[in-house]
Symmetry: C2
Subunit: 226 residues, 2 copies
């Protein structure tokens, strides 16, 4: 019953809204650092680069408690969004694959700031195992289960080559990790209970390439049509 006094909106927050919450959070923290106490949906919208009505609708899924005529309390919103995005408790992550990308990710400040400290690194290459990277000793991928158990990691980052990605994912799943961020440029599959997100660097450029090419073709045909 004491528990039931908590959030009522745990029911469901649309994916599109969840994807925007971290953006809001960044803007709000900045405002808070500047000593700003309240913010309107219009201002927050411009900070996040979205529509103001969209902000208000997003906030309606949280316990935003905005006051009409005034706006939202910045610190309160920070608290609510932080709570929704992981309960306010830091989640240590383990990175599989210590190549170029893995090393860069292990040193990426934003992870720590976002509540995701790097708790360990593993790699399949014996030449890399044992080396110190960004304050962590690289361990063998065979130790993954032990590492996850020791550190209580529930989030894994895959930064292996594409050919090793599915095996890395399988190892993470077997170790009990329930959220995986995959940077390898390949489609991987996970059990339904595991949450997977894909970040595909080359794909992003190719999408840009489409629009670029499309613009060029259109401009040319526009000229030719005259």
């Amino acid at each position: 019953m004491a528990d039931a006094a908590g959030p009522r909106n745990d029911e469901a927050i649309p994916d599109a809204t969840v994807a925007r919450l971290p953006i809001y959070l960044r803007g709000l923290v900045e405002l808070s650092d500047d000593g700003v106490g309240t913010v309107s949906s219009v201002v927050l919208a411009s900070l996040a680069g979205v529509n103001a009505a969209n902000v208000r609708k997003d906030m309606s899924y949280l316990h935003a408690d905005g006051t009409r005529g005034v706006g939202y309390d910045v610190d309160h919103l920070i608290g609510e969004i932080s709570l929704v995005l992981g309960g306010g408790v830091p989640s240590p992550v383990v990175i599989v694959g210590v190549g170029n990308l893995g090393r860069a990710l292990s040193r990426y400040d934003g992870f720590v700031a976002g509540g995701f400290p790097v708790a360990g690194l593993v790699d399949a290459d014996p030449a890399v195992v044992g080396r110190r990277v960004a304050g962590n000793v690289v361990r063998s991928v065979e130790d993954l289960g032990a590492l996850v158990a020791e550190t209580g990691c529930t989030v894994g980052i895959v930064a292996t080559p594409a050919s090793a990605a599915q095996a890395a994912v399988d190892s993470l799943v077997a170790s009990g990790v329930t959220s995986i961020l995959n940077f390898a440029p390949t489609v991987v599959t996970v059990p339904e209970r595991v949450d997977l997100r894909q970040v595909d660097l080359a794909t992003e450029l190719q999408i840009l390439g489409y629009h670029q090419h499309h613009r060029a073709v259109e401009a040319r045909s526009g000229r030719a049509t005259g």
Copy 2:
């Protein structure tokens, strides 16, 4: 009129479809390497992790020329998708910001393979300028305009700290770059004619964090409800 004999579907390909084309392309290249000549929408769908009807609808925006009862010609599809995604011509890219992430990106094989060779690196830090990274000498951000003009880059990657991102974007735009991929964790604005995509590493983890937390809360309340 001779021009009109070309693609008729230049009109518009939905964004959601464009975002899937690189995924299809990867799977198709793999099939081609394995000597597979034709592919059905069902197989391609499983390779890309999407619905088969979705594949067929996507293909209908291209000159897929699938044959009923057989499927699509793999090499033909590769050609069509490559054409749509940038005209088949490689687009050199320039990377702004040679920190951890910038270095990793400059060495990332996938860019070259995807038709986006790194043509140059720039940084604002004089201590970094002049150093050699991944076969490129880092140049000053002040040389950006010249570098873009020399190499004909039309795509820029921003890998600076958040505080320098907007300035980096502005410089790229001023240099004539028309497509920008921003890795800095901040919202940046560009003129309407410039295409911008945002890749936010920490945000991706935070989104995973929501689902993780949500699962935990649900499991707890599920138990409590009993």
